[in-house]
Every structure is written in C-alpha cells, then in structure tokens.
Amino acid sequence: MKVRDLTELAARNLREAVLRNSLTTLGIAVGVASLVALLSLGVGLQQLVNRSVARAGLFDTVSVRRRQNTPFGQPGGGRRTPRDGSDLQPPRALDDAARKEIAALPNVIEVNPEVRFTAEARREPNSQLVLVSGMAPSSQSSGTLDGMTGNFFSGPDAEEAIVQGDMAKRLLEVGKAPTALVGQEITLRFAQRQALPPPSEQAASDAPNQAVGPDEEAMGFSIVPSEKKFRVVGVLPASDSGGGPVGFNNAGLYLPLAVAEKLQVVQGSDLRDVARTSSGVGTRYSALNVRATSPAAVAQIESSIAHLGFAAFSLIDVTRNLRTFFAIFDLFLGIFGSLALAVASLGIINTLVMAILERRREIGVLKALGAANRDVRQLFFAEAGVMGLVGGVFGVLLGWGIGRAIQLGTMVYMKRQGLTSPNIWSVPWWLVLGAIGFAVLVSLVSGIYPASRAARLDPVDALRYE
C-alpha cells in the first residue's frame, strides 16, 4: 500500500476510537512535555553558566605570569609544567620581547598587559577604595559589557572610566540610581612610581619628580601619591545580578588599557623586580592576558607559553569538567523525563492491542481483499507513528508552556528578592526536533508487538470472528 493511503487509513482508524486514541496521545504528550520541560531547564542552566564563563573570558583567555622559582610554587596555582611534560625553559622576565614572542604564537589574537591596582575613587562627598583594571579595546565586542548603561571609551587614550554598578552606588548620593553617575567626573588617587634621579643629580636638583619610563627605573623609584580626573562614560549592572566582567578581569572600575598603563601605578610585582638584578630591560609586566582564537586552542597556547618559560593559567580544565557535569546532568534529566514517555508507550501498546481485538474481522477483510501481512503491519505502525507524531508535537508545546511557567515563576520570585532574574530556560531547535523524533520512535517501537500480532492473524479465523 502507498504511504498516502496508509496514512489516510491510519488517520481514519484513529478517528474511529477518538476518545481512547486521544487519551493515549495525551499520555505521549505528557511524557514528551516532561522531557522537554526538564531538558529545556537543563539546557537553560548550561547556557547561563556558559554565558557567565564566556563573559569572564575563561574559555578563550590564558593568563601569563612570570614563573617563580620559589619553594612554595606558583602563586595562583598556575600551570608549572607543560601538558606534554617536556623540559621547561628557565624562568624569564615578562617584558616586551616576551610579549611579542607570545603574540607570534599560533592561534593568538592579542596579548594585553594586565594592569590592576587599588585606588581611591572620589566624588565629593563620597570616596571609596576600588580595584581598577585596564580594559583592552577588544572588550567592547566580546560581550563582557552586556547590560552596560552608557558607552564604551571614546578612544584608546580617552580619560574616561566605566564603573561597576555597586561601586557607582557608593559614589552617589543615597537613593540615586547607579546609572546617574554616567557623564559625571570622578577623581582617582593612586600610588605612582617615580624614577629616582641618578645620585649626582639627586642632590643638585630641586625639580619635582616626574613619572618616567621603566628604563630609568633601573635606578630605582619612589612611590608618591597622585591624582587624576576621569569622566564616567558607562555603568555596568550591579554584580549581584551577574553583570559586568568577572573572573580574570573583575574590577570595580575600568580605564582604557593604554591610559591605565601610562599612569605608572605601582604594581605588586614592582618591588619584587627591584629586588632582582637580573630583570631584562624595557617594560616589565606583572601579567599578560592572551586571547585565543577559540577555546579549543587554549590548551595548545598554554603549553607553548609554558615552553617559553612562563607560567600560564587558564580555566579550560574547569570548563571541560563543567561540560561533563552538564552532559551527565542533562542525561539524568532526560532519563527522568523519558520515564513518563515509557509509561505512555505502554498506553500505545494497550490501545493497539485493543484495536486488534476490535478490528479482528476488519483485518480479515483487508487480507481477503489483497492486503499482505506487510500492509497490515504497516497500517498498525502508521497508527502508532501518527499517535507519536501528534503526541510529540503537543508534548513540545506543553513542555514549552511548562518551561515558560517555570521561567515566569522564577522571575517573579527573583524580583521579589530584589534580584534580576537570569534566563534559566531554553528550548533549542534540536530539542524540539529530537523530542518529536523520540516520541515517534518510542511509538513505533511500542507498535512492534501489536503490528506483528495483527499481521500474523489468520484471515480465515479473523473473518469468522464475531
């Protein structure tokens, strides 16, 4: 029999016992709905975590520091040995030459120095200690500033700042929204390095110290307080709602990277470098952030950097474990969701076996009119498949509705707690198609026994059946 005839006959048969078949189909729909609702929550949670991790630059960033030869190991738990366990270069200074060498590695997009320091942010009458970080121009398009009010820096040398929401709150009058800080000026007070003049000039000169380059710092430097005004151009969402950069680059206030570098703020590594006599010439960085073309390239870059003699650190292993966790989590959700579908499959078997008993004589007539066993089997398969398809489609819609309801409920609860609700629910197209396909597959498998039984009916017995 042709597929169209088969489908028409199957649909007609299903319409005949409409209540029973509708209930069976509803059973499948509920099974699929539970599967879709659970998996959509699993996928939504996974996407939420992925977004946070991506925003933190954990997937595609390698943090590079100078390797320490201390008996206490590497601060921050960085990777001390390459993945292949081969020999390391001796520790090297993290200077311009090293930066160029790292930038030349394959799959590296950019290498930026990490400039982080503590300063006092002041906006009369409030002042607040804040962790300041230099932000590379590429951050504008990396998604780390999602939800920001205002604009990105107008240029790489602009004396502008982007402030984290809760820091903005502390600098403003009580009751004002953090976004009110946009367009206002704040003053940063920080510890600046100033090179010491050579001993001969030191006594003779009364001129004030100037901020100087690192070459001159070979002579040593003094630390003096310094101040600079910045105009706030953007305010990030408050950190309790998950807004703004986190992870490697988390700070309360951001300046353009070039501006932050020029401030010559004392870095943690400066004192250590002064103590060392073997440091190279030129700029020495406390840390470099290396951006990879893709998360897949991170491990290889990390290994190459370790070979160059630096400590490289990424969270790729953590994220890999995270993916494994979510794969197992989704598997369990899928198994629990499928239990309802398994129960529904028993309903299909029951319905079709009942249909065989009721339509025994009809099967005999079909065979007498020329239906082969294959035709009868296919007819019952088609009926099971149609129930699976309809149940699958309704189940996806129902599951979508349940997911929406959970999302709405979560939003209402989070709002009442004064928090912004993250999106914890997602129904990707593969889940929709997969759920419908799975429902049809389960229905067809459930139809195997009834269909075989119907096909095996002896036509003479079936025609005699009253």
Partner: protein, 253 residues
C-alpha cells in the same frame, strides 16, 4: 501443528500441468486436515477438481461438508495440507504469503455471506479499498469505483454507509467491491444466505449477469450454496461435497 505443504514440485507434477489449458482453477488431490484436540478433522480430503475458464460452478453440500474450506483454499486464504491448487496457472501452495495476497487482490474477488463491508466507511470507500491495496493510481480510482457501483445499481448511494442500506444493497455493494479490481474469478460463499428469497434471487440474477454479461467477457464463478434451486438455475455444473470429498458431480449446461 502446521499444515503440511505439498507443492507441485514436491509431488513431481510436471511443470506443464501448471499451464492453464483453458482451466481457471485446478485442484489436484487437495487435502486440508487440522487437529481439534486429539481428533484429526479432514475438512477437505483428496479432492481433485478442474474448473474451466468462464464456467459457473456451484459447490453444494451440507454444513461441515468442506465446501467453504475448499473455497478458502482456492481463494488463497488458507493453504492445503497436501495437494496442489492451480489458479490461472499458478500453484497457490508454492506462493509466498505476499504472492498469495496479490493473488487475492488481483486474480480473484470474494463475496461473503455476511457481506463483510466495513461499517465506518462509505460505499465508495469500501469499494475503493481493494484499489488502495493493489496500489492503483489515485486518478483512476473514482471512475473505477463509480463503474463498479453503477454496475450493481448503487451509483446513487456512494456516500451512504453500509448500515444505511438493506441487506440486498449491502450484498450488491460487496459484489461491486469484489469486481472493482476486475478479477478473472469470482468466489461467492453463500451470497444469498443472509437474504430473503426475493432479494436472494435478485443477487443471483446479478451474479448470473456477471458470469455472462450482455457485452464483454464473462468471469469464472465458483459459488458455495446449500440451495439446490438457485444452483440449478444459474450454474453450469454442480459439485456436491460430503465429508470433505466430492460425492456427486452434475453438468447442467
């Protein structure tokens, strides 16, 4: 216990026996035995029968004489325990179940005592069913259905369901369904058994007309009945069965 299948080849019947030689059906020492508890029932026992193409054969006999079983064997609804049945030159015992289904759909048409129309389908849909099973193109079907129903005088009732028809009309619809695939052989199992005398005679007239239409080729008809009068009026030959064997054979025309 599975019925013993004996085919022409296993019986060393020569291949040329399988050719039609003007016969629509040939039964060669056909038996159909089955067990009921410990007892072996010989529903059909060593029957040999030749039915010419275009012949109208009536199978007569008391209940349990084996006439319906023989009809089922010729229809390919059942398989013989031994012996061979050739229909249109092909050995049914050697056919696969798929081939038998094709034989039932295309070579023969069957009319039952209890009509066996599907109650939830209209007449049109009932008659279309064999065309669906034979995978006749959809464009051809409406004309074929209309032609078959017109032939039995039900052209105006195509949208009616069987339950809306009288017994005679239902049997006529069943005949239309049996004829729609234009089979060479029409098998009728007590076609008037559920009808009153007058309606039964109308149905017999219709079957006689199908056997020898005013124009065009006729068909081979094998009819099971227990009414000798009907058989004598229409059939070319009457074969009487008793205890699964032929007890009498009369040629009328």
């Amino acid at each position: 216990m599975k019925p013993l299948r004996v085919t022409l080849r296993s019986m060393n019947v020569s291949e040329n026996v399988a050719s039609t030689n003007g016969f629509a059906v040939r039964a060669d020492r056909v038996s159909r035995h089955y067990k009921m508890g410990e007892a072996l029932i010989r529903a059909v026992d060593q029957i040999s029968l030749e039915i010419r193409a275009g012949e109208f054969l009536a199978l007569l006999g008391a209940s349990g004489s084996g006439k319906s079983t023989l009809l089922n064997l010729i229809a390919g609804l059942d398989r013989p325990s031994s012996g061979a049945i050739l229909a249109q030159g092909r050995d049914l015992a050697a056919m696969s179940s798929e081939e038998l289904a094709s034989h039932r759909g295309q070579t023969i048409g069957i009319v039952f005592q209890s009509f066996q129309l599907l109650p939830r389908m209209t007449l049109e849909e009932n008659v279309e069913l064999p065309l669906r099973l034979a995978e006749v193109p959809r464009v051809e079907r409406p004309a074929r259905v209309r032609e078959a129903l017109d032939r039995v005088g039900l052209g105006a009732r195509v949208k009616h369901r069987p339950t809306e028809l009288s017994g005679g009309e239902q049997q006529r619809a069943a005949i239309a369904r049996a004829l729609v695939n234009r089979p060479m052989i029409l098998l009728a199992d007590e076609p008037t058994g559920n009808l009153d005398t007058k309606t039964g005679e109308e149905i017999m007239s219709l079957i006689a007309e199908i056997h020898r239409p005013p124009s065009g080729p006729g068909r081979t008809i094998i009819m099971v009945t227990h009414e000798r009068g009907l058989a004598e009026r229409c059939a070319d030959r009457i074969v009487t069965l008793s205890d699964g064997a032929i007890s009498r054979e009369e040629r009328l025309r």
